[in-house]
């Protein structure tokens, strides 16, 4: 599998080129033979920020219609916590139930068994390819550092 790399400080975050990317740091993989159906999971960038994931919770029961950016759940890790938001408009089809008791697959196999949910999107949203995501990361890396450190000296 070929990948591209983004340096988060000393850390090499790897991104496979065979998937696309949403701006909320989820990877997007088309489901074969199903128009506009995708599997989503956290990118190496998100997982690096979170580190060891302890707890994942969804606010909704699948299947359910979502607006782009709608709050859908929350995640807690050793170091951080976050609400989670829909990466696109459409219908959320399934959540990865395996993660509810033990979310560690998010850390162990982020681009595989650590997938989060599947969705049928309305139309085909403009997800980024790996190169575009890399440029996007260049842009947001400053904001990311500021967000983390800003919680120090607000």
């Amino acid at each position: 599998m070929s990948t591209v790399i983004f340096m988060m400080g000393e850390f090499e975050a790897e991104f496979p080129v065979d998937v696309r990317y949403a701006d909320n740091h989820m990877w997007v993989r088309p489901i074969e033979g199903q128009a506009n159906q995708f599997q989503f999971g956290f990118t190496a960038y998100a997982v690096r920020l979170l580190q060891d994931v302890y707890f994942l919770d969804w606010l909704l029961d699948a299947p359910v219609n979502l607006k782009n950016g709608q709050e859908i759940g929350s995640i807690e890790s050793k170091k951080a916590e976050s609400s989670l938001y829909a990466p696109a408009e459409g219908q959320l089809l399934t959540f990865n139930d395996e993660l509810m008791d033990d979310p560690s697959a998010i850390n162990v196999d982020k681009y595989g068994d650590g997938w989060l949910f599947t969705m049928k999107t309305n139309g085909s949203p403009n997800f980024m390819d790996a190169e575009a995501y890399l440029s996007y990361l260049e842009e947001v890396w400053v904001k990311t550092q500021r967000t983390i450190k800003g919680q120090l000296n607000d």
């Binding site: 988060m8 400080g9 000393e10 850390f11 701006d23 909320n24 740091h25 998100a46 690096r48 920020l49 979170l50 302890y54 707890f55 994942l56 919770d57 969804w58 606010l59 909704l60 029961d61 359910v64 219609n65 950016g69 709608q70 709050e71 759940g73 929350s74 807690e76 890790s77 170091k79 951080a80 916590e81 976050s82 609400s83 989670l84 938001y85 990466p87 509810m100 008791d101 033990d102 979310p103 560690s104 947001v140 904001k143 990311t144 550092q145 967000t147 983390i148 450190k149 919680q151 120090l152 000296n153 607000d154």
Partner: protein, 349 residues
Amino acid sequence: MAKRLSVIVSQAQGKNPAKRKLEEDIVAGLLFESGIDVTIVPNLYDIQADSTSLVALQGVGGNAVLCSWLFERAARWVLDRHGIHGQHGTVLLQAEDDEADEDEADDSDEPADDKDRVIDSRDLPNRKIYCLDLKASNSADEFIAEVKRIYSENQVQVVGLTDVLNAAPLPKVASQQAGDQNENGSAAGQAVVNRIEEKSGRRWYPVIDYSRCTNCMECIDFCLFGVYGVDRIDTILVEQPDNCRKGCPACSRVCPENAIMFPQHKTPAIAGSMDAAASLKIDLSQLFGAPAEGKSAEELAAIERDEQLVMAGRNAVGAKSSAGRSEISTSSKPDELDDLVDELNDLDI
């Protein structure tokens, strides 16, 4: 004869190893204390009406200590919701941000004014229930010490007859007793451990704090999903908890007394925190797609309700209907920041 004390441990959801270790360390530490019975159940809030866990909980008699990851107030009223009633036992082990509080912590959780609260009209059984918040410390020893303190406190109390009758040992329930932790457990001395292992899905429903509730009916007017009802004497209750829309805390925002809790909500004030106890963790929401903030509690409640109505295939109603006059303390942001320092030091990115 020394009065036994029941300790209930409600496990965290998910698989946080630090949390599980604290739970187990507390149980292990209590094994060698005399006069203590331990019941371990899955997450208290998720327990279903017809479950083994609930049978076990309802079988716990006498004074009891509940150790859970819920805020103290939430824990007490979730128990109440499960039909386990009792007097409020004062817990001395509290989270450590008290020194930052300008006004001293108020021991009683009943609001100090002259409004009639639902609790005033209820007879509570003569037993005390102490709810320990496992978030209050990382040290199992501190919780064990607090349990021992409560145990001693209960030995010197004047005991009513019903108390003695209720202090019967645990009933037999279909559960696995942890063999390795139960050797010699039958004698009067050592702890008896009753461990219930049961899978239950995550639940989502409101929990009413009847020490705050004034029976004003704002919630039943606001909720359009039939969650609320009234009992035979017209007191508000959560009649159909499973009608509640997962993730929606709107009724909590419109409650004028902040009496409605969603123990799993991320906002401490909605989850039952007495103060603005903030999370110690870094909030990444802004990076993961959070919209900009800045809405009032009523606006938020109306938006949340509309989202749920639309999801359920119904029409949005906007802010009409009696979206109340309450203000929930949005709180917590500034204090939260101070506490992040330690976490950040070893984040190394």
